[in-house]
């Protein structure tokens, strides 16, 4: 909205500043489910440090988080929980679906898994890998940062 107001330099600069602030301290919500959660923890640990992007604080409460990294396979029983946690996050919020199981159901194309988390929540970034290593996760996060900075994702 603000960026389309014609000739309004002040508002576009504020939007840009807001986007910059949002990317530089995005708090992930802990939604680690399975093997990808371990890689997510490893990327928050010392070797591949997520703290350099301002993100080492994994908020347990979704009310305090911006980013939900769905790390792992989402089963039928977990899908309503996922939706509830997503709904509890305040705007602006983003979702990264980490790993093959979260993106498409992965190698488990069967009755027990939701075939892709985008059937339950809207996803901004899909990360392939089984599990994606910390470098892939960071590439995904930085891509999300770029997209937010460029204004492609307004929400």
């Amino acid at each position: 909205m603000a960026t389309t107001a014609p000739g309004n330099l002040l508002i576009t600069t504020v939007t840009k500043a807001a986007n910059w602030a949002r990317t530089r301290s995005m708090f992930p919500a802990t939604f680690g489910l399975a093997c990808c959660a371990i890689e997510m923890m490893a990327s928050g640990a010392a070797h591949y440090d997520l703290a350099r992007f301002g993100m080492e604080v994994f908020r347990a409460s979704p009310r305090q988080a911006d980013l939900m990294i769905v790390a792992g396979r989402v089963s039928q029983k977990m899908a309503p929980v996922l939706r509830q946690v997503y709904d509890q996050m305040p705007d602006p919020k983003w979702v990264i679906s980490m790993g093959a199981c979260a993106s498409t159901g992965g190698m488990f194309n069967n009755y027990a898994l939701v075939q892709g988390v985008d059937q339950v929540v809207p996803v901004d970034i899909y990360l392939p890998g089984c599990p994606p290593g910390p470098q892939s996760l960071m590439h995904g996060i930085l891509t999300l940062h770029d997209k937010i900075m460029a204004g492609e994702i307004v929400n």
Partner: protein, 157 residues
């Protein structure tokens, strides 16, 4: 047969003993399932390592087999008990009063196969959601796979 099991075999003559790749297997008829399990615990099988089931669908006269793997720490040996259960209203005595550790395993067998366990304190679904219908590991329950679509392909029906 392991000498430890001699006394157990002597007490039950309806049980057929086999050896499967170096492990002792006892095929126990359904009515003796609980008594045999108690006797096995008496002679030293303190741990029930696993309870599971196999669905033979049409390959055997009785559709399901319930398998209990027992472990004896004192004698350092294993024993497998197998019983066959029919397709109509499959029911087996529960091993949970004997070994509390079998509680979750029997719930899983109920959830996945639909086999009831008499005497289980809390026989409810454990892995699937409560309102799920059907028993997934039965052979007539499909895998539930969805067709995989690729970006450039046409709509897969």
């Amino acid at each position: 047969m392991n000498p430890v099991l001699e006394s157990l075999a002597a007490g039950f003559d309806t049980v057929a003993w086999e050896e499967s790749h170096g492990q002792d297997v006892a095929r126990v008829p359904g009515e003796d399932w609980e008594a045999f399990a108690r006797a096995a615990k008496e002679i030293g099988f303190e741990v029930c390592a696993d309870v599971t089931a196999v669905d033979w669908l049409r390959q055997r006269p009785e559709r399901y087999e319930v398998v209990a793997n027992l472990l004896s720490i004192a004698h350092r040996t294993r024993l497998r008990m197998i019983t066959s259960v029919g397709r109509e209203d499959p029911t087996v005595a529960s091993l949970t009063p004997i070994w509390p550790g079998a509680g979750f395993a029997e719930r899983e067998v109920y959830d996945m196969f639909g086999i009831h366990f008499d005497g289980h304190p809390d026989l409810t679904r454990i892995l699937m959601p409560d309102e799920w219908e059907g028993h997934p590991l039965r052979k007539d329950f499909g895998v539930g796979s969805v067709p995989v679509q690729f970006k450039e392909s046409h709509q897969v029906s």
